[in-house]
Structure formats: structure tokens, C-alpha cells
Symmetry: C2
Subunit: 339 residues, 2 copies
């Protein structure tokens, strides 16, 4: 802990025999300083190990040099990957990343408001915070909503509905499944809802309806495992299960065989996200690839741009997805696929 007081501009100024203004010019790379003076100042800076206080600097410049990220939880491969994307662009902008796990907080609204007050921009996962709070906060900081809907000003997302429509279509058209169910639909989360819509659209386009309500409300592997048990208990296992994300699919994949159901023979399974484990599962998971880190990076980029006044018009950025066919849907291993 700090025993010695950190040197300030004034210390350096005195030591170098210049004014604080000059020191400030040196630390902020202002060109109008004579090379000789600059060298002398720099020497003092080095000698004292001086670095500007972020608080003083922030106050004077009215800038926090920080980006806030609000996610439901901090767990799971999806959000980790998202955060990675955010971090990479933040690092490039010399900006700190401050995180907030919304689902861990008793008072999300308050926490977000406080976060807004110590950052220049916010990247918020849709469904974690009331839109009213978001709106209130939006005139203090730039806000970019991940997976947001049209009512949000700036959004970054993928088209989960079409993507999920496509994998579902694969299940019906290629494998001839007729009895399909959706797994994972937590209330208030827009992305699973979107995917569920795509699922139903694919079915109705083919004259089918979902053969039962969505199973399970969570988005984690344990929820998939629970869904598997419920299914067995109900005695009614459908032809195929379309999951809101890969983790749920892993839970199913890990549990169904022990319950006596072979995947994909007895029941086909598809996921969503294409996380690192998808290609490792047994059978390998057919899923929708999302550019997860890209989503985070794009959001961060937009947020930071908006924060530095590049007041761009309201925009909706849709990143591309792609169906990745492996074996959990019933397809045979592609020739050359490593196992």
C-alpha cells in the first residue's frame, strides 16, 4: 500500500524548472514544446516515475477513459467470448473495461446508473436492464445494446430468427423430423425468444406446429440436463430438440444417453452459438455459428465512437451467422472431419 505520496505535475514542474502547463504538454504529447525542454521534463518524469492521475486527468478532460459492460451473468462461454471482443477494442483505445453482472445484483437499475457515471459508454446486453433505465442513462453516456430490438437507438446483433429457422428447416427437410420441440426460453431474454420465433416459423412454413411447449427456462448445461429428465419422465421424447444455445445442448447430450436415448438416432439435437466445445462433443454438435467476439468488438467500437462525439445516426448492426452441420442432427460425418 501507498507509503510514499505519488508525484504530481507540480513536483515534476518544480524539479524540471518549468511550469505545470509544460509538464502537461509533455505528458499529452503536445507538439508545442521545444525538444530540449521536453527532454528535461521527460527526464524528471522518468526519475520520479511520474504518471498522471487518472482522476485529475478525467476531471479536467471530463472523460473517464472507461467502458462499462452490462451482461446478465459473467459466466458461460458466450459472455466470456463477448467480453474478449470488447476488451480487445477497449485495449486499443487505452480504455478500461468495467463489468457488471446484472443477474447477480439486487438493484440492477441503481448499479447501472452508477456504472454510467464512471464510464464514457455502455455496452448492454438486451434484457438485463429496463428500457426506462437505459433511456435515462442514455443522455449521460453513449449506449449500445447487444441483441437489442428496434426501440433501442444503437444495436448490434445477429438475426437469430432466420438462423434458427434455417437449422430447424434442416431438421425437417433433410432428416424428415416432424415432432420437434424447443429448449430454453427464459422470460425477458430477447435472444432465445427470437430463436424460438424462427423455430416456429420454420415449422409453420411446413404445415407443422411445435409438439409441445418449450422445455426448460434456463440457458445453462444443467438446464439441458433437467430438460432431458423431464422429457424421460413425460415418456414423450420428440424426434428433435432445438436448443436456444449450445450449453443447453451439452446438458442434453450428456444426459440423454444415460437415460437410454441415443443421439442422434433416438432424438436429434441442434444448438446455437457454435462455442468451442461444439466440435468436441460426442456426437459433434450441429449448431448456428455466431461471431461472438465480433459482436462484442463491434459494440465496443460503436460505443467508444459515440462517446467521442462521433454522434452517428441510430443504427442497427446485424452480423452474419452460418449453420454448421455436424452429426448431432443425424448427418454423417463430413468426409475429412476429424474425430
Amino acid at each position: 500500500m501507498a507509503a510514499v505520496r505519488r508525484p504530481t505535475v507540480r513536483d515534476i514542474a518544480r524539479h524540471a524548472g518549468v511550469s505545470v502547463a509544460t509538464v502537461s504538454r509533455v505528458t499529452s504529447d503536445d507538439p508545442r514544446v521545444r525538444a530540449e525542454t521536453r527532454a528535461r521534463v521527460q527526464a524528471s518524469i522518468d526519475a520520479h516515475g511520474y504518471t498522471p492521475s487518472s482522476l485529475g486527468l478525467g476531471l479536467a478532460r471530463r472523460r473517464h477513459q472507461a467502458l462499462g459492460v452490462v451482461l446478465p451473468g459473467l459466466g458461460g462461454p458466450y459472455f466470456a467470448e463477448l467480453l474478449r471482443g470488447v476488451e480487445s477494442v477497449a485495449a486499443a483505445h487505452d480504455t478500461a473495461v468495467t463489468v457488471l453482472g446484472a443477474h447477480l445484483r439486487p438493484d440492477v437499475a441503481g448499479a447501472v446508473e452508477r456504472l454510467a457515471r464512471r464510464t464514457d459508454a455502455l455496452v448492454v446486453q438486451a434484457g438485463t436492464v429496463d428500457d426506462a433505465v437505459l433511456a435515462a442513462v442514455a443522455d449521460e453516456v453513449a449506449v449500445v445494446v447487444l441483441a437489442g430490438s428496434p426501440q433501442h437507438p444503437t444495436t448490434v446483433r445477429t438475426d437469430g430468427e432466420s438462423a434458427c429457422r434455417d437449422v430447424t428447416a434442416h431438421l425437417v427437410d433433410v432428416h424428415g423430423h416432424r415432432r420437434l420441440r424447443f429448449v430454453g426460453l427464459p422470460p425477458g431474454a430477447p435472444e432465445p425468444a427470437q430463436r424460438h420465433r424462427g423455430f416456429r416459423r420454420a415449422l409453420s412454413e411446413r404445415g407443422l406446429v411445435e409438439s409441445g411447449p418449450p422445455l426448460s427456462v434456463g440457458l445453462e448445461a444443467v438446464d439441458g440436463a433437467a430438460a432431458a429428465r423431464d422429457l424421460r419422465a413425460s415418456g414423450d421424447v420428440p424426434d428433435a430438440l432445438v436448443c436456444a444455445n449450445d450449453e443447453i445442448a451439452f446438458g442434453l447430450l450428456a444426459t440423454l444417453p444415460g437415460l437410454g436415448y441415443d443421439v442422434p438416432h433416438d432424438v436429434a439435437i441442434v444448438g446455437f452459438d457454435d462455442n468451442a466445445l461444439a466440435a468436441l462433443a460426442a456426437p459433434r454438435l450441429t449448431t448456428v455459428h455466431q461471431p461472438t467476439a465480433e459482436l462484442g468488438a463491434t459494440a465496443a467500437r460503436l460505443a467508444l465512437a459515440a462517446a467521442s462525439g462521433e454522434e452517428e445516426p441510430t443504427t442497427d448492426h446485424v452480423l452474419p451467422t452460418r449453420t454448421v452441420v455436424r452429426e448431432s442432427c443425424g448427418c454423417s460425418p463430413a468426409p475429412g472431419a476429424r474425430r
Copy 2:
């Protein structure tokens, strides 16, 4: 983005007909304000939607109200869980959490130094930052090292060596395995190294040696998958594999069957961490349970305490672990274990 200037103490003071000091007293819950005055000030505060600037406040109080967390990457269940622990404590202290993914950064040392300058305390995963940097930074902020070794002042960890010694012993003593290998030993990471030591200790105590060098250097599921392929290629699959963490074990679990090796019949596998998927894998993973969130929470608690001057003596906090026997080691399902 901010169109209107945010109100300041002075605005509120003027509007409420009091001095800035009184406003400050109200916002910081100072008791020496008459109830009546307080009410009037509070009314102005509410009317203007005033909230103290964190920058001004921080500068005056010389406190950031922020905690920095340095982890290798932000990915994976382990670090997510750790972060969850940190967040919960930080939230209780009304403190923001600023994260840094060390392995994503080209200039870790610089990044950590900058982070130190905008936080009151740092929780650092051992092996992510040079000890020299840590030492340099330690007289600016409180530093707590996760999984650190004795040369660090304050550390929070589990006894990975003993824990790994114990699971390894189980494999040898209960299942009679003699040819065992360790998987996952990235250079510079102290925890896997510790576990590897425990592994070797268990063996040597029983007159055995590891039947080959540690496999794979990564700590992720893909690394386990790669290790499985290497093993097959070498044609020499041992009796049992002891993994540095659960993720590696999942990679093995997912890949070995496809290669023609049954787990645990042909090869036993044990992991480390006991993450959420461990009880879901097929077969369920025998592993060492770590109180991961607790580790983060404890570290955060210590860091914050140190930051608020409770200059406690150098301490080494060791949290308990426990071997969780499931079926991947070859044991039969415990009666009553849900599958």
C-alpha cells in the same frame, strides 16, 4: 449522449439555498444536518436528478471506488466463477470491477500499471504478470494474488498439491492403476505446476513414476481433445489420466470414445475444479472440488480491506478442497446418484 450539462453540487446548493458543504453532507449521509435542511436539499437533488460526479468525489477523497481484476483470459467457467465471487463482494462495497485479460494484451505490464492507477486494489491471478511489475504496483494499490506463492504478500489459494496428490492416490490405491500421466502444464502457470507436483508425489510415495511427460500445454477442452489424439497416435494409452482442470478432462471425455477408448474401462480420467459440467459429463467426472467463487470473494474482501487502510499483516489464505468421486475414475455410481 449528454446534451444537457449535469448538475453539480453548486447548482443544488444554490437552488436549495444552502452551501455546497451542506449538499455534500447530505449526499454522504453526514448526520450533522438538520432534518428540515436535509429534506430541502434532498428535494433539490431529486428535482435535478443530481448525483455526485465520481471523478470529483474520487479526487477529493483520493479513492477510486474500483477494484481491478487481472486474469489470464476472461474465458472459461473457472474465471467466470471467480469473477462472480469478486463481483458479489464488490457490489456489497459499492465498488466497480474493472477487468483485464492479461493474455489478450500485448503489453501486460503497462496495462496493469494503468489499471493500478485507476483502482484502489488489485486481485491478480498468479502467473499473469511479472512479480517485478506486481511489486512496483504494490505501493500504489493493495494487491492480492490468487494462487500465489510465498513470495507474494497476500495470497488466496487452495492447496492444489495435496488435493492432486489425493485424487492420484485414489486412482492407484483404489483402482490399482500403475501407468498414469498428467495432462495440461502450461509454462508460467503456477497452479497446474502445483497439481503436477502433487501428482508426482502420490506416485513416488507408492514407488511409481509418471509413465511419460505431461501431455498438452493448454488448459482448455480443445487441448484435452488434442491430447487424446496424440495419445492414440503414440499408441500408448496409460491406465489413467490426471488433468490439470476439468475442461481438459471434458476434451478427453469427448474425444477418446470416438478413438475407440472407453472411459473409464480403457482409461480412467480425473479432473480438477468440479465445475458445473463435471456432474453432467458421461461418465460423470471424478474431480477435486474447489470453492471457486469463494476464492474470488475472499480475494476481493482482502483487497478492499487492505485498500481502506486495514493494513493487515502479510497473509496466505488457503481454502479447503475436497475430492469428488464419480464414475470417470472407474468407481460405480454411488447409490442414489442421479444420472
